[in-house]
Amino acid sequence: MNGKVMVVTSGKGGVGKTTAVANIGCALAARGKKVALVDADIGLRNLDIVLGLENRIVFDLIHAMEGRCRLRQALIRDKRVQTLFLLPAAQSKDKDAIMPEQMKELTGELADEFDYVILDCPAGIERGFKNAVVGADSALIITTPEVSAVRDADRIVGLLEAEGILEPKLVINRLRPDMVKRGDMLDIDDVIDILAIDLVGVVPDDETVITSTNRGEPAVLDGASRAGEAFRRIAARIEGEDVPFLSMEAPGFWWRVKRFLGAGR
């Protein structure tokens, strides 16, 4: 098998990279794909707790890399979606504990076994970024409609280009339709116009992302979550499907009814 290796990155921290990795990975796995999520944020392990797998870690990425365990021993299988696996970051080491060549070898090894290898890139543009990007053949850039996040995203486009990763895809996270309507938030067209890269999805600002993270269950597993629906559509587009964009209007009457009935759970 020769899987896709995709890095999820943003430059700026706190825009929702880890949440995006968890949700897109989970959605792809729910579609029957074999997915490995790699937490490349060495020293600041987080993907495990977002996925609700924090109590099942025995070995981590560094153990596997140093040969202290086999790679498959370090991979944690998700119990809800059987084809989803997590390779957790080491918590005790720092970002300099790995070299780009080692990371490239590791992602290559994973790509032999999985359809998708998705790397959660640390914030910043230093060593950790280099490590996360080196083995990737495509990139997903996450931004929010804020000046600081968009500026950093632009910088990342250039840096990815320098690393040979062309045509990154854009995810706009935490869009607030009410603020867009008032003219107080950059809209989808503004962000695309500024960054000039292809859009793969727009995720509305949605409380269910926080509540689902509290529970350790990605929002894509909640059929009534709007953010979850947006992430499911992103997964479909990554798979090459032509899916319409989610309406960014405020939730309508039928939506609230569906939500109330807890449909799709």
Binding site: R151, D154, R155, V180, G183, D187, I194, A196
Partner: protein, 101 residues
């Protein structure tokens, strides 16, 4: 005055949303980020441009303004050089602004 009053009565329709400001500021800062030119280099460029223009026309160097603009990931250097008069016909009173992209 009247216009301002009217637009205040008619609500905030005419108010420029903060996102327009955000977009303008972003575009400007990104254009400079993308060229990654140092302020020193930019100053040298400004001076060279001024002396090149001054060979042909009288310019107001203090009123010069140069900046970068970007659209679709391509960059343009926008220079605004106030022309006081031409070298040949020396009428100096009129101040014109020349724009070159």
């Amino acid at each position: 005055m009247v216009f301002e009053f009217m637009s205040r009565i008619l609500g905030r329709k005419n108010r420029l949303g903060s996102k327009d400001l955000a977009k303008e500021r972003l575009k400007l800062v990104l254009a400079h980020d993308r060229v990654s030119i140092s302020p020193q280099m930019l100053e040298r460029l400004r001076r060279d441009l001024a002396s090149a223009c001054a060979k042909y026309v009288d310019i107001d160097e203090a009123g010069m303004n140069i900046r970068f603009d970007s659209s679709d990931r391509s960059l343009a250097l926008i220079a605004s050089v106030p022309v006081i008069g031409s070298k040949q016909s020396t009428h100096t009173s009129k101040k014109r602004r020349g724009k070159s992209g």
